[in-house]
């Protein structure tokens, strides 16, 4: 019996002690008719060897292609030590640190994480993580509405240059609480948020302004101008940032005159593998004034009865298990294991290691874009400066192009058509420090050939790649 240690004799002894004849008798309080069903649709159990063979086969099936997709999930180098330590049983199978004395390892690590995030974002306070970047934005919006007592409108401005899945997730979180998310258009030339569109809201009661950096298109926003506008308008600011980029970009604590009020984002670029989109983790930092409004777990340093330094969960009265219906959020778990890995990653890489990874990502991306835009018909859509992603106009249907590339085992990028139809045929390509010259050669070569075939009128319009 997998994972069940009982021997026949032990079972007999236990039943004897309890005073019943069979395990079935232990279920005698349950109405019998509820226990008449079969589970035939579920296959019978597999041994570890059998499931290993199945999973290896599925892993091979999905193969390993050259990938240039970013769009919110990035393939950066992770030192081997990170996951070897994070998956030690003492971290992997530890529970939430409610009994602080038995969890000082996890608690100290989370305190170090909070400290590292405040340093990276240059802000006052951090929590111990949320589920992911998108839901963190939802929570940040709820927090801004709670914290901005001067505003009654419950209106939040959300740039269209923000990741569409973040906007969708935030909408799911806030829609039953009478909070309105208002779209802010982007400038079709630069790819940045349109400042003149923002100016139209001057003087209006706006609760908060969301500012992505870099934005979904990879473009760098004019963050000082945006924060200054918000400050003038008594609007709270919510930054949504790529934390790796913050090692080389001006962090949100330094935007505008006084920095932002709340900052959130996706921690995946810091030591978390792509793993099909999760588990990742969301982070949130804020100005000191708002610390009691922070959702999620927070670890504090204190002393024990001998005066020795130690760590414990704090400000728990805000949370669901105490406050119940008046809680700041319904959040129970954070993403403990992911934060464990990310903290170890940041400690090993240090600021210098992160700066180099960011710098290589930026510069390798410039090389990629040079190669790709040298192809006829391929050009940058926006002229704004970028971090490690660029939107490229392509001279054919984007979906077909990506499919043709995939058939050559090149995952060429993200198709923007679903959410940004007005951009026409466009794909978004991404680079990280892991990008190799070979990969770029293959990509550029295949891309050129596919486009050339399309432009040749003698060819069939739908190649048989399927």
């Amino acid at each position: 019996m997998p994972f069940i240690p009982h021997t026949e004799e032990e079972i007999r002894n236990m039943l004897n002690t309890i005073g019943v004849d069979s395990i079935d008798q232990l279920f005698d309080e349950i109405p019998a008719e509820l226990m008449q069903f079969s589970l035939d649709a579920i296959p019978t159990g597999m041994s570890e060897m059998e499931i290993t063979q199945l999973m290896q086969q599925r892993a091979r099936q999905d193969g390993s292609a050259w990938s240039f997709i970013g769009a919110g999930a990035y393939d950066h180098h992770i030192p081997a030590a990170v996951w070897q330590i994070a998956t030690r049983g003492e971290f992997y199978s530890a529970y939430t640190p409610y009994q602080a004395e038995a969890s000082q390892g996890t608690l100290q690590l989370l305190y170090e994480f909070q400290s590292m995030m405040t340093a990276l974002m240059d802000m006052d306070a951090s929590n111990a993580s949320l589920y992911d970047g998108a839901s963190a934005l939802g929570e940040a919006i709820l927090m801004a509405v709670r914290a901005n007592r001067k505003s009654k409108s419950r209106k939040v401005l959300v740039p269209r240059s923000l990741h569409p899945a973040y906007r969708a997730t935030a909408h799911t979180v806030v829609k039953n609480q009478q909070i309105e998310l208002v779209d802010l258009p982007f400038d079709s030339k630069t790819g940045q948020t349109d400042m003149s569109a923002l100016a139209q809201y001057s003087g209006e009661d706006i609760c908060a302004l969301v500012i992505p950096q870099p934005n979904f298109f990879g473009v760098l926003e004019d963050v000082d101008a945006l924060v200054n506008w918000a400050e003038q308008n008594k609007t709270l600011t919510i930054a949504v940032v790529n934390p790796l980029s913050m090692s080389v970009l001006k962090p949100p604590g330094q935007w505008g005159e006084a920095g932002v009020d709340i900052c959130c984002g996706e921690g995946q670029p810091l030591g978390i593998p792509l793993s099909s989109g999760g588990p990742y983790y969301g982070f949130m930092t804020c100005r000191q004034d708002f610390v009691r409004q922070l959702p999620g777990r927070i670890i504090g340093r204190t002393v024990d009865m001998d005066g020795k330094s130690g760590f414990a969960l704090t400000l728990q009265a805000r949370e669901q298990h105490i406050r119940r219906s008046k809680a700041t959020s319904n959040i129970c778990t954070n993403q403990g294991l992911m934060v464990t890995a990310s903290t170890i990653h940041m400690a090993i890489m240090g600021a210098e290691g992160l700066e180099k990874a960011a710098s290589d990502s930026i510069n390798k991306h410039q090389q990629l874009i040079e190669r790709l835009t040298a192809i006829d018909g391929v050009e940058k859509l926006f002229d704004g400066a970028v971090f490690n992603e660029t939107v490229l106009r392509v001279p054919m249907d984007a979906e077909e192009l990506l499919r043709a590339l995939a058939a050559h085992n090149v995952l060429g990028g993200y198709n923007l058509a679903t959410h940004y139809a007005e951009l026409g045929d466009a794909i978004m390509v991404c680079s990280t420090e892991k990008q190799t010259d070979d990969a770029v050669d293959v990509f550029a070569d295949k891309l050129a050939r596919i486009i050339a075939i399309r432009s040749n009128p003698g060819c069939p319009t739908k190649p048989k790649f399927d």
């Binding site: 919110g72 588990p279 414990a312 400690a347």
Partner: protein, 484 residues
């Protein structure tokens, strides 16, 4: 010592970076970071040593017995981790095209189907990233259902007074008012009060079965009838699914929507506080509202169901498709259990709990519900010890740490004073159960002869009892906070 206190300016893990010097000339000057972030400057070995030593200060399932009620601290099979981190699986991009994702999608689809079958529901979405998110999704679907029928007078969700805090919090997040229903002395919901409470204003009721009190809600079919007849829906909190997995199905009990905690029932790692996964299952009438994305199969290939396929969905819960790596671990575990293994989970977790309950009663401890069977967990109350000896549940819990056992859940549910909610799970051998009882007997004796041992416990942990009040009053949540 904190990692920051081991830094030395200029120290760096050279093996982890490329050879190119940092060059950010492509970034406009006014957007460049001017001062380096104050992250640690240590060698790779210093970091490895530091975090390895920190790990050694933790209790964990791999090192200790953890009978935490309602948390289901069962063995996390190692294969689940190593197989979920296979190359080809762990480096798949969430936006990889379907052509390069069939293996992964097969795992997700199979898991959807298995969870659907074992819970007796009609459809499952794996999107929610935790139990609380699953609850939110469940209540949001109830809301979507009533809104679609223009039944907008339904403004209340009924929640038992013994419910987990996430229940009322989730209801409020969906714009509902919470109405509490009391539990009677035998641990069941007060059905007469329920009849009086339901009406055209009732959107639904949130229940756990077995309940948070560790007993089976015997009149569940009657409760379902009462709520359905009033036009409300039934939500099942799957926190205690381990007690009935493969033995009873929430769908058969009359529930319209359920969430499951894969980090409990399906043994995904607790990781020091997450990540979890909280898939939701629904009856036929709630199918249109399931959160996206989901995986469909047409007999030949797998595909994603997104906004255009599910126009009435309550929406997305995350940027991608949820906690995929956790879902994979649950899938691998579920395949190793198979259908017989699932039923054995309920049988043996219940056997272990009832054995412990009987031995604790024989040893003189007071059960909260002495005439009820334990399900996969049970409650004992230490209120007599608190009254007669001046030692409370927290003191017992702290002293248990000195015996190498993580204390059971204390102070939940709020209804039972000085309670211990004990859940051994099916993974533990009788040895572990017996040594827990022996420890409790010894601690009881100490409580009678030398209560100070308990009140000043723990004695053998890296720290003594911590000052919670100071942690909240003199807030120190960042190494850099005093330097601002």
């Amino acid at each position: 010592m904190l990692i920051f206190e081991q830094s030395s300016a200029g120290r760096h893990a050279y093996a982890q970076s490329g050879r190119n010097p940092t060059d950010v000339s492509a970034i406009p000057e006014n957007l460049r970071r001017q001062n380096r972030a104050a992250l640690p400057e240590v060698s790779e070995m210093q970091a490895v040593r530091h975090y390895t030593r920190l790990s050694q200060k933790n209790f964990s399932i791999d090192t200790n017995f953890y009978p935490l009620g309602s948390c289901t601290m069962k063995y996390n099979p190692r294969a689940c981790n190593s197989l979920a981190m296979l190359p080809g699986i762990v480096d798949r991009h969430p936006y990889a095209p379907d052509t390069h994702s069939q293996g992964f999608m097969a795992c997700m689809h199979d898991l959807q189907e298995m969870l659907k079958e074992v819970t007796g529901m009609k459809a499952v979405s794996l999107a929610p990233m935790a139990g609380a998110q699953g609850e939110f999704a469940g209540v949001a679907m109830i809301r979507a259902y009533h809104d679609a029928r223009n039944d907008t007078a339904r403004t209340e969700i009924i929640v038992p007074d013994a419910a987990h805090g996430t229940n009322p919090a989730s209801a409020v997040m969906c714009g509902y008012k919470v109405k509490e229903i009391p539990t009677d002395a035998s641990g069941d919901i007060d059905v007469e009060k329920l009849k009086a409470m339901v009406g055209p204003q009732t959107a639904g009721i949130m229940l756990t079965n077995p309940s948070t009190l560790g007993v089976f809600e015997r009149r569940i079919q009657l409760i379902a009838k009462i709520v359905h007849e009033a036009g409300g829906l039934l939500y099942y909190d799957g926190a205690n699914l381990n007690a009935i997995l493969g033995k009873v199905r929430p769908g058969d009990m009359g529930f319209d929507v359920i969430h499951m905690n894969l980090h409990k029932t399906f043994s995904t790692p607790h990781g020091g506080g997450g990540p979890g996964a909280g898939p939701v299952g629904v009856s036929e009438r709630l199918k249109p509202y399931l959160p996206i994305p989901m995986v469909a199969y047409n007999g030949r290939e797998y595909s994603w169901l997104v906004e255009k396929d599910c126009p009435d969905s309550i929406g997305r819960m995350s940027a991608f498709s949820g906690n995929a790596g956790i879902l994979l671990r649950a899938y691998i575990y579920a395949r190793m259990l198979g259908r017989e293994g699932m039923t054995r989970v309920a049988e043996f977790s219940t056997l272990n709990a009832n054995y412990m309950l009987k031995r604790m009663i024989d040893a003189g401890f007071a059960p909260a519900f002495k005439d009820r069977r334990a399900t996969h967990e049970f409650i004992i109350t230490l209120k007599k010890q608190a009254k007669d000896l001046g030692v409370n549940a927290m003191d017992f819990a702290k002293r248990l740490l000195d015996f190498g056992v993580h204390a059971p859940t204390t102070y939940f549910p709020l209804l039972v004073p000085e309670c211990f909610l004990i859940e051994p799970t099916e993974s533990e051998a009788i040895d572990a159960l017996d040594s827990f009882i022996d420890a409790m007997v010894q601690i009881q004796q100490e409580a009678e002869e030398n209560p100070d041992m308990l009140k000043t416990a723990p004695h053998t942990m890296p720290v003594r009892r911590l000052d919670d009040v100071r942690a909240a009053r003199e807030l120190d949540i960042s190494y850099f906070s005093k330097q601002r």
